[in-house]
């Protein structure tokens, strides 16, 4: 499902039920089953055979949800957080920087909650492969279960392994290595071993603290990696409102001007619960002006991204 689109919901599909942007639920569609939440009871039988992106009405006819096709981007929004996860801006930037494309072989450690794993698998499928390693036994088992449910096992192999102690057990097979480890510097030698020696190998280390970066950069330099660069990557949500913005002549003339909450805000709040009725006006609203700004609370930091390449050639240890 995560690396092939379907048009119509089928029995056994993975799907995402969308209530509001903040409440989305992954389900495995199964004839006879029922999904209950505060919006009502939704029978899987009502979903099977409808097109993805359709509205499904609750059993009592009062509530509804949308049944969406799963994608790695949606999965990142709903994945159960067993660890800090990677979000879309980092996932995207790292994938492009590491030149992930169909056919590439990638090593990831640790797997964590699998947010990035899904995205890597989608990008390298169908002929590439992701080898992902997780130190924490229970988390490895949970991720493995998800990969099975999500029909990703042809593209993803997960192993419960302490890579800091034991390396990846892979030699010269990877196009790219991604490290999300507390002590990434200790995995640099293993990463070097795992990268192909015939083409450029790429590495990314993801660490929240600058001290981790400082040590990793030294290790990369020592092990012959080059083009060492470090970035931070974020995306800021913007919101749009309509404000009246009257001419000051109104106030000078003694007219009372209303600065009530603008229409855009009210529409948005309603919209989260329920889409506007068909034919809703797309007029910015009663002579107001569209204004926008970043939403008040933003993610301020995720992690530092340290990149490097390993030029082709014989590997001196």
């Amino acid at each position: 499902m995560f690396h092939e689109y379907r048009s119509v919901v089928g029995d056994g599909d993975q799907a995402v039920l969308y209530c509001t942007p903040e409440s989305m639920y992954p389900i495995t569609v199964a004839a006879g089953k029922v999904f209950n939440n505060k919006y009502g009871s939704f029978h899987h039988d009502d979903m099977i055979g409808v097109r993805y992106g359709s509205k499904v009405v609750s059993h009592d006819g009062r509530g509804f949800v949308y049944v969406l096709h799963p994608t790695p981007a949606l999965w990142t929004q709903i994945v159960p957080h067993r660890t800090q996860i990677l979000y879309l801006p980092d996932i995207s930037f790292i994938s492009l920087y590491l030149d992930l494309r169909p056919g590439k072989v990638v090593i990831e450690s640790g797997t964590g909650s699998g947010s990035f794993s899904h995205s890597i698998a989608r990008t390298v499928a169908p002929n590439g492969h992701l080898y992902t390693f997780e130190y924490h036994e229970q988390r490895a088992a949970t991720a493995q279960r998800e990969f099975v449910e999500h029909k990703l096992t042809d593209v993803v192999t997960i192993e419960h392994r302490d890579v800091l102690a034991n390396g990846f057990g892979k030699s010269g097979i990877a196009d790219a290595v991604f490290l999300d480890l507390p002590a990434p510097w200790d995995a640099v030698a293993a990463a070097k071993e795992a990268l192909r020696s015939t083409t450029i190998g790429r590495i990314c280390s993801f660490s929240p603290c600058i001290e981790q970066v400082q040590r990793t950069v030294l290790a990369l330099d020592e092990h012959g990696f080059s083009e060492i660069r470090m970035f931070e990557c974020l995306a800021k949500d913007h919101e749009v409102r309509t404000v009246p913005l009257p001419d000051i002549a109104e106030a000078i003339g003694g007219n009372k001007v209303s600065f009530r909450p603008a229409k855009g805000d009210r529409r948005k709040r309603r919209r989260d619960e329920e889409p506007a009725a068909p034919g809703a006006s797309d007029d910015p609203g009663e002579g107001g002006v569209l204004v926008s700004k970043p939403v008040n609370a933003a993610r301020g930091h995720t992690s530092y991204l340290t990149f490097a390449i390993l030029a082709p050639g014989p590997r001196s240890p």
Partner: protein, 390 residues
Amino acid sequence: MDAAVAEGSHVIIRMPSDNAKIVCVKAQETIELGKFGSFKGSALIGAPYGHTYEIEKGGAIRPHRQLAFDDADITEANNREIVDDTRSQRLTFEEIEALKARSLAGDVTAQEIISTLTENNEAFAKKTEFSKSKYIRRKEKKFMKCFVPLETTVYNLCSHFFRANPAKIRGIRADTLSQMLSLANVYAAARVLAVDDAQGMVVGALLSRIADGGSVYAIHDGDVHNYDIIRYMNLAPEGRDRLRTLPWSKLDHEMEPFTEQLAENASEQDVLGRERRMRAHARLAETLDTLRGGEFDALVVSTNYNPTSVLKRLVPLLGGSRALVVYDQCKEPLVEAFTWLRASPDFLNVQLTESWLREYQVLPSRTHPLMNMSGGGGFVLSAIRLAPGQ
């Protein structure tokens, strides 16, 4: 600023949770900090600012070692450490609630609660030292009955409201406010013309930078200004008197001579009333005279009206080679004003800037930007006006 908290002054009380509230300290009134306890105002009067105080049983306060500065954020550098704390706690929810109630009553100290919690936490012993200390710090933030009284400086007030209630100050962040003061070149003896359609954060900041010879003329919406924030600033009376205000609706008002006559049988109240009205009339006449005389040293605007319309109206009152500065939370209203200023022959150095601020956690081996930040601090439009008639 005074060294110590005085009767009747406003103080920012920061609690272990990092939340803060502004209180007006009065000896006879109780200061309520919710789960962090309460104490009599008299206990705080005379206490120096900036120290950490612990609230004792009975509402006394005493200096306390400061809480370590190291817990700005609870993200784990090492995600192996993330364990589910609730499941490893042997105490029930009810038992913990009972502990909290006894703590609030002063029967048990925060240290005692934290010891009980750690003793009953199965995972605690397995934690690394780093992780243990983090657990304890987090619990301290929850259970310590401590606070820090901070001065109501312009920086502290702006940061407080930006966090607690950004709409109150039209979303202006302290760095943005500070840039307005620089661009407007506010100094002791400056005469500043201002529009502040929030609650006086901008006017208050202007007042803080002027002294003898300086003044702030502020034009406001409605009949009476609502510069609520100024009263938190603990200004001396002469500081407050440097503010003169005028409603927009009076800007074009034509003054007529004060002609009110006293009736023959006027009471003393009638006499006093007439005098009050006469003084108000004179004050309005003086304010209008000064305003219309123009030659202000700065024009500083934060408005809900179309800023271009406000500028067109007020720029003629600004002196030559003096700066105008306009704030908005959104860029769009300023883009129109920017275009107007750029196209006009009367302005130089027209600039539209977006301010950016980032706070960091600095700790041994754990230095990084804070995981949460404000989305935006707003935009500032500024320009220098040329001398009229160029």
